[in-house]
């Protein structure tokens, strides 16, 4: 058993009278790679938002890193790639390096726009997602898959322990999707980052994830997958 990062118990959530999540419980352990799947409207994104505290459950409790969600403060440990990450103004005049560097804004030296330490961390994050060669490109000139890798680097720069992704590859071509999922795998296996990804396409996760959360009519079924790529059994 690894360290428990997320713990949910007796969790229910509904809009008006209809419960979309009905009394579920689960744990997410360090280094897990979890796929959340289900049909449209099966509250996959809602579950992510509950875990991160953007929505409050009607009943039940959620803990992040051992703290009750309401008391959790250490948001640097958490990375979130929302479904609409790529809905920015595509003519925004900013380079890949500026976008990734900006997420370290709390460590910014006021007078220098990007100081040396930040530059190094930015380049390391871009290296991890194989995008260093594009550091001076305008963000709007990249393809959808490349933009998504840049946004991933923007999360990595803060050294998160867990990354939540909500349908990261809608509108991205199949080949780039594979590149992206291989990359996520690398972050999970080599960097030890816990991954939680919402997707409607379970086939992309079969050889990579170690647990699949199926959401169906408010209920949760968990599949534990033995994955020889991971070299461990859960």
């Amino acid at each position: 058993m690894g360290e428990v990062i997320v713990k949910a118990d007796n969790l229910s959530f509904g809009y008006e009278k209809r419960l979309v999540i009905n009394n579920i419980r689960f744990e997410i352990e360090k280094k897990d790679y979890i796929g959340i799947v289900g049909t449209n409207g099966s509250a996959k994104s809602t579950l992510l938002k509950l875990i991160m505290g953007f929505l409050k459950p009607n009943v039940g409790m959620i803990e992040l890193f051992g703290s009750h969600i309401g008391d959790f403060k250490d948001w640097n440990k958490i990375g979130y790639l929302p479904q609409n990450a790529r809905s920015f103004n595509t003519r925004f005049p900013a380079t890949v390096e500026e976008i990734v560097g900006s997420s370290q804004y709390s460590q910014m030296n006021i007078l220098k726009i990007l100081n040396k330490k930040i530059k190094e961390a930015t380049l390391a994050a871009l290296e991890a997602v194989n995008m260093v060669g594009f550091k001076d490109s305008l963000i709007g000139n990249l393809s959808g898959g490349q933009q998504q890798r840049v946004f991933l680097a923007k999360l990595l720069v803060n050294n998160p322990e867990i990354i939540f992704m909500d349908e990261p590859l809608i509108g991205v071509d199949a080949e780039s999707q594979d590149v992206f999922f291989d990359l996520i795998n690398k972050l999970n296996v080599d960097f030890g980052i816990t991954i939680v990804v919402v997707t409607h396409d379970v086939s992309k996760l079969n050889h990579r994830a170690n647990k699949i959360f199926h959401l169906d009519n408010g209920k949760l079924n968990i599949d534990n997958i033995f994955n020889k790529n991971r070299g461990e059994e859960h």
């Binding site: 925004f92 005049p93 900013a94 997420s103």
Partner: protein
């Protein structure tokens, strides 16, 4: 030509002009990229009401205008939250209020508000020593705040909801920013004129994003185009004895036109050269 700079009022106007062009271009970059460029227009119309109020009550119009624009900036931000899905509605409401109250005050004031034309289209000769002191003082404060908050403003501008997730106090910064815009407009109206203030916040940005290859470049170019427009505009205004607001805006529009034409020509040249070198393979991203 060299005589221009020997007049104290012209020296004052140029110094004020350069400062206001730097602050309004810098604020304008963030406003335009957040698709909020009409804020300038809205707040400047409420400044008109403030100026009329000052004239009627025999108060220095700058002070009354700063009060009305600051109040308007707070109201815009409040209404923006109220009408989340219709952000521009907050601007339309406040603008209507500004013009409505201004026209009432102007007609009530009769003879007292005759001088309002100078505030509507700008004037160089009426710039006083007091104006200069105010602009130097508030201009320095605004520039320092922009530099201090540069990264956070960039973050909010690129992705406001992500900035909220990261714990950046977005609502407070939005309010502070709207208030800075209000002050910038009041500072600028003496020279550029109320009706043209917002163009100082938008046209240099439009020119700069034609050529900028990074946010840093966009910021620098916006300031260069802004300062160039104001300096050349003021000189033109002096030589041809026309309202400075009009000449400044005309110059800034000519710069925009020039940059667009040069960019198109450059694009065609690159296309031709690439065609020659690569035997017809043309990659748009290389422009």
């Amino acid at each position: 030509m060299t005589d221009i700079f020997s007049y104290p009022f012209m020296q004052r106007a140029l110094l004020i002009g350069i400062i206001i062009s730097i602050i309004s271009s810098s604020m304008g970059l963030f406003l335009v990229l957040r698709r909020f460029s009409m804020v300038g227009d809205t707040l400047s119309h409420t400044a008109l009401a403030g100026v009329a109020l000052g004239m009627i009550t025999n108060t220095y119009p700058f002070y009354t205008a700063i009060v009305t624009t600051l109040a308007a900036s707070v109201i815009v931000e409040k209404l923006r939250k109220e009408y989340k899905e219709y952000a521009e509605l907050s601007l339309a409401i406040v603008m209507a209020a500004g013009i409505g109250i201004a026209s009432l005050l102007i007609s009530i004031g009769k003879n007292k508000t005759i001088g309002i034309m100078n505030y509507m289209f700008g004037s160089i000769s009426l710039v006083t020593e007091e104006d200069l002191k105010i602009v130097l003082f508030l201009g320095a404060i605004i520039i320092s705040i922009i530099l201090f908050l540069f990264r956070a403003l960039f973050y909010i501008t690129f992705d406001e909801s992500d900035a909220k997730l990261r714990g950046i106090p977005v609502s407070k910064l939005n309010l502070l920013f709207a208030m800075l815009v209000a002050i910038t407009i009041t500072l600028s109206m003496r020279i550029v004129g109320i009706l043209l203030v917002s163009s100082m916040m938008t046209v240099p940005v439009a020119t700069s994003i034609q050529v900028a290859k990074s946010f840093k470049q966009a910021f620098i170019y916006t300031n260069i185009f802004g300062v160039l427009s104001v300096t050349l505009g003021l000189i033109t205004s002096f030589i041809f004895d026309v309202a400075p607001g009009g000449s400044i805006v005309t110059i800034s529009l000519l710069l925009l036109l020039l940059v667009i034409i040069l960019k198109k020509l450059y694009g065609k040249l690159v296309k031709k050269a690439t065609n020659l070198l690569d035997g017809g393979v043309y990659n748009e991203q290389n422009i």
